[in-house]
Amino acid sequence: MTRLTDWLEERTGLPSVLRKILEEPVPGGARWSYVLGSSIVFVLAVQALTGVLLALNYAPTSEGARASLAFIQEQVAAGRLLHGVHHWGAGAMVALVGFHLLQVFLWGAYRNPREATWIVGVFLFLTTLAFAFTGSLLPWDQNAYWAVQVGLSIVGTTPWIGHALQRVLQGSAEIGNLTLTRFYTLHVIILPIIVFTLLGLHVYLFLRRGVTPHWSLSEEEGKHRREPFYPYQLARDVGIMVLMLAVILWLAITFPPMLGAPADPSRAYEARPDWYFLFLFELLKYLEGPLELVGTLLLPAGSVLFLLAIPFLDRSPSRSPLKRLPVVVPMLVGVIGIAGLTGKSLLVGREERRAQRVEEVRRAGVLEEGGALLREQPCLKCHRLGEEGRDRGPDLTHYGGAGRSSEELIAHLKDPKVLHPNTIMPSFAHLPDRDLELLVEFLRLQGVD
């Protein structure tokens, strides 16, 4: 063993790098408050792994995207679980990165000499959001389509360059195949390159200056009361990783992501972004006319500039949050505003939206399965449905139930002679009840929007 280690040391120098990392002194001693950074790296690794696995069976085209994801969910072993982990892992990433940013802010860890670490961190935060946005289109269901429609339209409202920017991201005048291929390329090639490059830089800069102790300790005091990273901090980090994995697995199993009705540009949908963009969505309801730009451009861009400028705005000698009010107050206002708008958006009309979503999925299923059943049965030998069928019996294209209840229609299918004694329509009493119900549901949806 020692011979192998010696050989590796001689040829690569890696063992001593590892030893240096493990012995890295933690100022002020190991703490639970230092675990966020490493848990982010862990969840990112989970995302990379599940992402690669999903890509094995995913096709980024308007015909194939939703179908391939349904295939992953329904037919690939462990597919539903892996998709669920990737879905909830994405939410966890945004939440953890947000908390990490807030914690580093509260600790005052962005200050001299760690400004560069902070700035790279802000870009990592933006990269995380870009991952979330590009990923949200890939399921290509109604919600994905319409949420991205709104997102790209927001890009389009940027003065001067907005239209060109939207066009380039969208690939075409309307969202379609070229949008999917662009978002997919960003999500699985370009953003991963960016995130791992920035992360490497971030960790390098972090290791160079070490962790910032709690604000009650000065850097000097922190250096006196220190512990090596291994084993006390490492144990805490690993504990959090196990907890994170357990939470993500539990969410993925209990609330697997539901594929909605297929994206359809001709059907209205109450689009909602994922929870982390809800505050912006809610805000846009209240901003009209020229104020619109406040929500779509000035606030987001201003917030990012503020984050980048924090290390240079904060000139207080103390790291205590109470003594850094010029930067703490705007941050607090922002956080409260985001939390309030998100809460309002989540709570108002929640039941209606749920019901609508269930209804959309059900309707898409009825249209698909009912249509197939109708074509299997001899219906179209006499009836017309759009371009198909013949004109011997009544046209079913805009039938919509003709004012009859479902029970009456089922009775009619079972014995057509009750309603029309002279009809040539045969009885469908031999079909199972489930099929009769499906046919009637399908007919009721014809001509109804």
């Binding site: 015909e63 429609q149 790209l152 339209s153 060109a164 075409s172």
Partner: protein, 164 residues
């Protein structure tokens, strides 16, 4: 000039040349969507005008022969047609705010956008909400009693209708 300076200058120039040579096609490639023609299509047949109900707007759904990359399958689109006696209005179902599809709500006799709650009147005029303009009218024509329209998309968020 000494040899070092010459070599340094040549190396720098070679690097710039390589970068330019590689980035020019890349830039043309990335920005190619800007050169693609606008979204307007040929006349699309919506069927006999008489078949559409009077006095309430109808959502007509149609298929557009795609300019969606390589796709051969038509893409689906929709528009609102409002017919009252001889008066016909045809306008887009896309909210001019941020591009969601608007719904007709008969209870309040208005179109409403499910995303940010903009509202429009029976003939598409802007009533309230963050939408910057009315629902965009689409070019249409009547021929032998059949209604035809041209499918078009417009820039979101602009105060005037500009084709996207």
């Amino acid at each position: 000039m000494d040899r070092r300076l010459v070599l340094k200058t040549l190396a720098a120039m070679a690097n710039i040349a390589i970068a330019a040579l590689l980035s020019l096609p890349a830039i043309l490639y990335i920005f190619s969507p800007l050169r693609r023609r606008s979204s307007e299509t040929d006349w699309i047949d919506l069927g006999v005008l008489e078949a559409l109900p009077q006095g309430a707007p109808t959502l007509v759904r149609y298929e557009v022969q795609p300019s969606d990359g390589w796709a051969r399958k038509a893409r689906r689109a929709s528009a609102w047609v409002y017919r009252q006696d001889d008066r016909v209005r045809v306008f887009t179902s896309t909210c001019p705010h941020l591009g969601c599809a608007v719904r007709w709500t008969p209870e309040s006799v208005r179109f409403s956008c499910p995303c940010h709650e903009s509202a429009f009147s029976l003939d598409g005029g802007r009533l309230s909400g963050p939408a910057p303009r009315s629902l965009d009218p689409l070019p249409w024509k009547l021929e032998d009693g059949r209604l035809y329209l041209r499918h078009q998309v417009f820039r979101p968020g602009a105060s005037q209708a500009v084709p996207a």
